[in-house]
Symmetry: C2
Subunit: 83 residues, 2 copies
């Protein structure tokens, strides 16, 4: 079993109004030292072992999880330890 951690972030050039709202809230809470907030997605997949997990995850991200016009993604594949 593989555990795949996928991180989806907005591209640098894309505005993040949700992040701006969070930053404004933090400033209102007196965390003035927060300079920027960007909000993305973190997705964990549990996948059966197969030779081409990385290739599959690439396709899954491109087709379903990320909007590659405005988002970047990266992922880490970990061996799941059975207890």
């Amino acid at each position: 079993m593989k555990k795949v951690k996928v991180f989806i972030t907005l591209k640098e050039s894309v505005l993040d109004p949700q992040g701006q709202a969070v930053m404004q809230s933090l400033h209102n809470m007196d965390y003035k030292n927060v300079q920027d907030v960007r909000i993305g997605k973190y997705i964990e997949l549990q996948m059966d072992d197969s030779a081409d997990v990385a290739e599959q995850v690439d396709t899954i991200c491109d087709k379903l999880l990320a909007n590659t016009v405005i988002e970047n993604y990266r992922y880490e594949v970990e061996e799941e330890v059975h207890s």
Copy 2:
């Protein structure tokens, strides 16, 4: 400048209907080897240097970013390299 990466995930015991919907879509796309999908948030904060960044991030997560009743969070603090 510090870059803080915050990962917010649903607790194990909490149902994730969004993740289930994504898993169903993946099965429909013939990725039958995906056993589970959990969807969380990934938040990047840019913060000015201060001694107690970790403590601040703890408070920020508890008060604003995470709902600690149903979510767990963890974070990594990185030194931002200026170019």
